[in-house]
């Protein structure tokens, strides 16, 4: 039963292909709980929740200072660069007007007060995040507390998540961000070029028992808490007052609510 060189090579090739194939099958379908792996030991002072959510109280945002203070607090803390060219722009939280924030709901008879109110926009930390589904490496993932987070070291920069996000919440590091950070904060890592980033609901502050930076700076304009907790302030507002969300028809279940009734009962 001797075999010649040709047969040997053919059989060796088949065995190798089989081996590679099966090892892929094993590793490919092994359930990797990335979200669990990404969790670090919780400290006693860390804030916990089942589903973090935010309410934006529109009655509290009146002056430029109200808005800019919030944006500055976030962007400084998270080393968000300031690019001179808007094409390269990175933003975690910013403002827009009513018609652009709630695209699709065009109403020409709205009065100036509503039309020109500044709406704070940020990642909605959706309950069904399309970006998490799209990511081919699980670099963006949903934590058990509802926060949609990013692993900047795993992201390959394919930007599928940016196409998937219906809220335009994600930014990409088209250039090296580091030279464009005015004052480097030691609280949060800077990023490399070629990765996507966005608001993370300040999970690093929550772990230290602190509220998100924007919430702290907002003078009560941004209310943050556990939507799953019936006694939390966010839950009370969402269940008793009239709030709106961006593009609810898409079924992503955004966790950012806008209280537009001026704080009064609607």
């Amino acid at each position: 039963m001797s075999i010649n060189r040709r047969q040997f090579l053919r059989r060796a090739g088949m065995i190798t292909a089989l081996g590679l194939g099966s090892s892929f099958v094993i590793s490919g379908f092994r359930k990797k709980e990335v979200a669990v792996a990404a969790e670090f030991a919780t400290t006693p002072k860390g804030l916990q929740a089942k589903r973090w959510a935010m309410v934006v109280d529109m009655s509290k945002f009146k002056t430029e200072a109200d808005i800019n203070g919030v944006i500055e607090a976030c962007h400084k803390l998270h080393n968000v660069p300031k690019f001179p060219n808007t094409k390269d722009e990175i933003k975690w939280i910013w403002e827009d007007d009513y018609h652009h924030t709630f695209a699709g709901g065009h109403n020409e008879y709205l009065d100036d007060h509503v039309l020109h109110s500044p709406f704070m926009v940020l990642c909605n930390h959706c309950e069904n995040p399309p970006c998490v589904k799209a990511c081919p490496t699980q670099a963006t993932f949903q934590r058990p507390d509802g926060i949609v987070s990013m692993d900047y070291h795993r992201c390959i920069g394919c930007r599928f998540c940016m196409g998937a996000c219906p809220f335009g919440a994600r930014s990409f590091n088209f250039r090296d961000p580091r030279p464009f950070i005015e004052e480097v904060s030691a609280e949060y890592p800077t990023r490399t070029p070629g990765v996507v980033e966005k608001c993370n609901f300040c999970y690093e502050r929550l772990a230290d028992g602190l509220m998100p930076a924007c919430v702290e700076k907002s003078n009560g304009g941004l209310i943050f808490g556990d939507l799953d907790d019936p006694d939390s302030e966010v839950r009370k507002i969402v269940s008793t007052k009239f709030t709106i969300r961006r593009k609810p028809e898409l079924g992503t279940q955004p966790s950012v609510y806008y209280l537009v009734g001026g704080g009064e009962d609607a």
Binding site: F24, S27, G28, F29, K32, V34, T86, K87, D88, E89, I90, K91, D96, H99, H100, T101, A103, G104, H106, P130, V132, K133, A134, C135, P136, T137, Q138, A139, R154, C155, I156, G157, C158, R159, F160, M162, G163, A164, C165, P166, F167, G168, S171, F172, N173, F174, R175, D176, T192, P193, G194, V195, V196, K247, L250, G251, T252
Partner: protein
């Protein structure tokens, strides 16, 4: 067999050198992008995919179109395609390689590309796209090489290759379907959120792909002693496929227009209004899209009327169809998917010179691979004929 690509006429070597020069320029442009980031492209926060992903989309179609030869030849015993099938398979291989390269050059962190395999994500369509594309490449390499090798020795193809050939037929459909699913499953991108996207992709692929193949056959006939269509009407059969596929493609597009405009839902029609008429004063794509529309109808007309039998008119018709499809799929579909953006603002995109050079470099790599593979196939045929 590869040694056959190492000997050729002076003309052959001039062509290869030219391609290598374009590849070198593309590589240089890519190094610039690699060092400075994707900021050297025209892409932005709002239009986050551009020329690269559009080329990828177009070329998946070209790759899939080999099935238009394989299916009639192997399933219906359509003998006319006998001499051409190998050219179809040898077009699919470079097309898939170009697809993979366009994905690669589009990555912000290309050195991490293996993360897609290290951290497989079965919920992501990208995961399946990787599997079907790599699988299709492998299938065509195995089938093309084995059948040509057997032909060279004058023996029938080995039996084990038959099931792989049959597998290649649904597999070709799958690569373009999965690619359409990349776009058609995203909430909030209204131009893409269409159930007919995969059908449109296949129709446009089966028009543009065989059209490219026919033009390649014309070139092969001119530069070599091998005739892929020795008076059997293979090319005219392929012309019929191109014609009906293109008519289906235009029909599908009109279906999209009807739903968007008659329903009058602003979000659905906004990207189409941007493409055809301009939006908020932004009109950069309008002349390009109308050019594509005119070329699509011109191409169909030239392929319907007896002009299809005239060499020059046929060439113009095929070029019109290829260009129309390239504009639609290799450019506008991807870019306009992001316009208007999630905030209903119009932010336009235009590729930069660096981006265009990288794109040309990838196309030159594809052209070089086609040249080498076709050289091998033609040499084997010439050898048999003499």
């Amino acid at each position: 067999m590869l040694e056959k690509a190492l000997s050729g006429s002076k003309r052959y070597w001039i062509w290869v050198t030219l391609l290598l020069a374009v590849i070198a320029v593309g590589l240089f442009a890519y190094m610039n992008q690699f060092n400075n980031g994707l900021g050297v492209t025209g892409m932005s926060r709002d239009v986050s995919w551009g020329l690269y992903i559009a080329q990828f989309t177009f070329l998946v179609g070209v790759a899939a179109s080999a099935v238009m030869l394989v299916l009639p030849y192997y399933l219906h015993d359509f003998k006319k395609f006998g001499k051409m099938v190998i050219l179809g398979e040898f077009l699919a291989i470079p097309a898939v390689i170009m697809c993979i390269l366009f994905i690669f050059v589009d990555l912000g962190q290309p050195m991490r590309i293996m993360n897609v395999i290290l951290h497989p994500s079965p919920r992501s369509v990208m995961f399946y796209d990787m599997i079907v594309l790599c699988g299709y490449l492998l299938i065509n390499l195995v089938v093309g090489w084995t059948t040509l090798g057997a032909e060279r020795k004058g023996t029938p193809s080995p039996k084990w290759v038959k099931p792989i050939i049959y597998l290649s037929i649904p597999w070709a459909v799958s690569i373009h379907t999965v690619t359409a699913f990349l776009y058609a499953g995203l909430p909030g991108r209204h131009l893409w959120l269409s159930a007919i996207m995969a059908a449109r992709f296949l129709a446009s692929a089966f028009a543009a792909g065989p059209a490219i193949l026919i033009l390649l056959c014309f070139i092969v006939k001119r530069v070599s002693k091998f005739d892929p269509d020795p008076g059997v009407g293979a090319i005219q059969s392929l012309v019929k496929i191109v014609r009906y596929a293109m008519i289906a493609n235009v029909f599908f597009y009109i279906l999209e227009l009807f739903t968007a405009f008659y329903s009058n839902i602003p979000e659905y029609s906004a990207p189409l209004r941007y493409i055809f008429f301009g939006l908020d004063g932004h009109t950069s794509l309008v002349p390009i899209m109308w050019t594509a529309t005119a070329l699509a109808f011109l191409g169909i007309a030239l392929l319907v009327f007896p002009t299809r039998k005239n060499g020059a008119a046929l060439t113009i018709g095929l070029l019109s169809i290829i260009t129309a499809n390239w504009i639609d799929k290799g450019m506008i579909l991807i870019v306009a998917g992001f316009v208007p953006n999630s905030f209903e603002r119009v932010i336009e995109y235009a590729p930069t010179l660096n981006e265009i050079l990288v794109t040309l470099g990838v196309y030159a790599i594809g052209a070089l691979l086609i040249t080498i593979l076709y050289k091998v196939a033609i040499s084997v045929r010439e050898e048999k004929a003499s």
